[in-house]
Amino acid sequence: MSQTATDVKNTPGEPHDARSFGQRWGVIITLVLVCAIWTVPTLGLLISSFREEADVDASGWWTVFTRPFDFTQWTLDSYERVLSGGMGDAFINSIVVAVPATVIPVMIAAFAAYAFTFMRFWGRNLLFIFVVGLLVVPLQVAFVPLLQIYVDFELNGTFLAVWLAHTGFGMPLAIYILRNYMGSLPKEIIESAEIDGASHFQTFWRLILPMSVPALAAFAIFQFLWVWNDLLVALIFLASNPANTVVTIELQKLLGEFGSEWHLLTAAAFVTMTVPLIVFFSLQRFFVRGLTAGSVKG
């Protein structure tokens, strides 16, 4: 589409000719500028995390470009210190928190979305509209009462507590995305499965779940990153138990304790970013779909 637009612009004899050359450069320069503003902050973080403590404090990270191949200036010291100082354990804990907090809501929501799409029951439409309304409810509404329940049942600070909380908070969005997707699947397939005598349970596992993989993946990626990057829920339900700390809490603590020790902070921040960045670069298509579908989440 952009091809045809530029073709027309560059046709000889068009009155736009002279100006479109300038315009084209204007476009490129503006984009390069915006892209630079978007990259430089992360680049500065990455570079600083590999510099010696003394260097980070003494000169700006951009000075490395005067001698980029002087390998004596690069070091992994900050990473070693950060990882052995709690970030390493927090990293494992983050995985323990994020994987079930992704899989459990996907599974529960898939069953519910199936029922909303292919089964008839009393109150179906009303219930779904209720789910749509819940999409925008701020999850702060849940914290005070949930905290009390967790304290009463001695669940506060456990992984189970955060899994369940994230499952609840992610549920409306998961149901919404998956129902919309299942609603677009051809109805005939279900009908023919029914005629063949398949039960709903079989149809769900053998037909609908495999066919819904794009939507399942999109939501799963959104939810995984959401949980991985979450600070608030972790602070409220997990922070009381230091053994179960996660990367975001750990980074926030470092920021509080070592506010100006940038060699440590940059390394720690980069550790928290590794998993999301791997997801970004390896699953970009699903990633974009997931984040754009999921961004209404409360």
């Binding site: 530029t6 476009v27 973080l45 003494a58 899989v103 529960i108 069953f111 849940a142 975001t248």
Partner: protein, 325 residues
């Protein structure tokens, strides 16, 4: 090693438990007489979801409203005291005002920048995807991570020696004194610098949705205007923008909903000091610093009331979409 083993066990238990639950429920229902099976089957599928939503969203929401009329440890009723206390507290009023600034400025800037990149990248013959990836990448980064990244940019060194924060290095390079950016509350400068972080994170989302909308604008409408001799500016504002307006609104409200509850960035960067307080951070402080359940609940109820118009909008939009199917 033991840690990793425990982690794997924890993950398997969590995931396996849920799978088993469905198989067990299904097995029970399939043993029932046919008529009952058909009647109960939908509730096997939907039951756990309803239970989870009820227990973790609906019940706590109702309970929060109740608590907002009770005292700090929810043992006696105080009527509207929590609300009157909040609204007569200048700190809370300034938090409300700041939230208004956030929900006006951040969605607007995100949409403008997202639209700019979407439009310009669309005109490139090469490199469109690279430019878009670069803008979208921050979406992967947590608020705390982004706060660290930008905290480093805003760093101020007052002990003498070189500035290692990029912004102050520029300022000093231009011959001025270094500035402690996050303490500059006149003209809400520090607020704006915090908002920059959010815009940096969210512009990519705006760009992706708006880029898709722009590519859906029929070529003929643009070509016709071009043949009539309209300038590119005119084409954009009079032909393209009206056709993508629905998407602009969706993006704007989506970011607005997110920004209303902005917490992490403020909590990590200033914790509300220097006039940067926001509502969600007040909630956190009331709950954990002051241990006041009633006050915290009242803050959330105010937030919930503010969300209601958006909820109505969301439901209405969904119904229109359904009707259009």
């Amino acid at each position: 090693m033991i840690d990793i083993l425990n982690a794997v066990i924890a993950i398997l238990l969590g995931v396996g438990g849920v799978t088993l639950l469905y198989f067990a429920l299904n097995a029970v229902v399939e043993r029932l007489p046919r008529r009952w099976e058909a009647r109960l089957k939908p509730f096997v599928f939907i039951g756990p979801a309803v239970l989870v939503v009820g227990l973790f969203l609906v019940y706590p929401a109702v309970q929060t409203v109740v608590y907002s009329f009770a005292n700090d440890d929810s043992t006696s009723w105080v009527g509207l005291d929590n609300y009157t206390a909040l609204f007569s507290d200048p700190g809370f009023r300034s938090a409300l005002l700041n939230n208004v600034l956030w929900i006006v400025i951040v969605p607007t800037l995100s949409v403008v920048i997202g639209l700019l990149v979407a439009v310009l990248a669309d005109k490139l013959s090469r490199g469109e995807n690279v430019a878009k990836s670069v803008i979208f990448l921050p979406m992967a980064i947590s608020f705390v991570g982004a706060a660290t990244i930008w905290g480093f940019i805003y760093d101020a060194n007052l002990r003498g020696g070189e500035q290692i924060g990029l912004l102050n290095a520029l300022v000093v390079g231009l011959g001025f004194d270094p500035v402690v950016w996050l303490q500059q509350s006149q003209w809400a400068l520090n607020d704006l610098l915090l908002m920059v972080i959010m815009v940096w994170l969210q512009a990519g989302f705006a760009m992706v949705l708006l880029s898709a909308a722009i590519k859906n604008v029929p070529d003929e409408t643009v070509e016709a205007a071009r043949i009539d001799g309209a300038t590119e500016m005119k084409i954009f504002f009079q032909i393209v923008v009206p056709q993508i307006w629905a998407s602009v609104l969706v993006v704007f409200t989506t970011i607005l909903i997110l920004v209303m509850k902005i917490f992490d960035i403020v909590y990590v960067m200033t914790n509300g000091a220097f006039d940067t307080e926001v509502v969600a951070n007040t909630f956190f402080k009331q709950l954990f610093e002051f241990g006041n359940n009633g006050r915290a609940a009242a803050v959330v109820v105010i937030l919930m009331i503010a969300v209601i118009p958006l909820m109505v909008y969301q439901v209405r939009r969904y119904r229109l979409e359904e009707a259009g199917r």
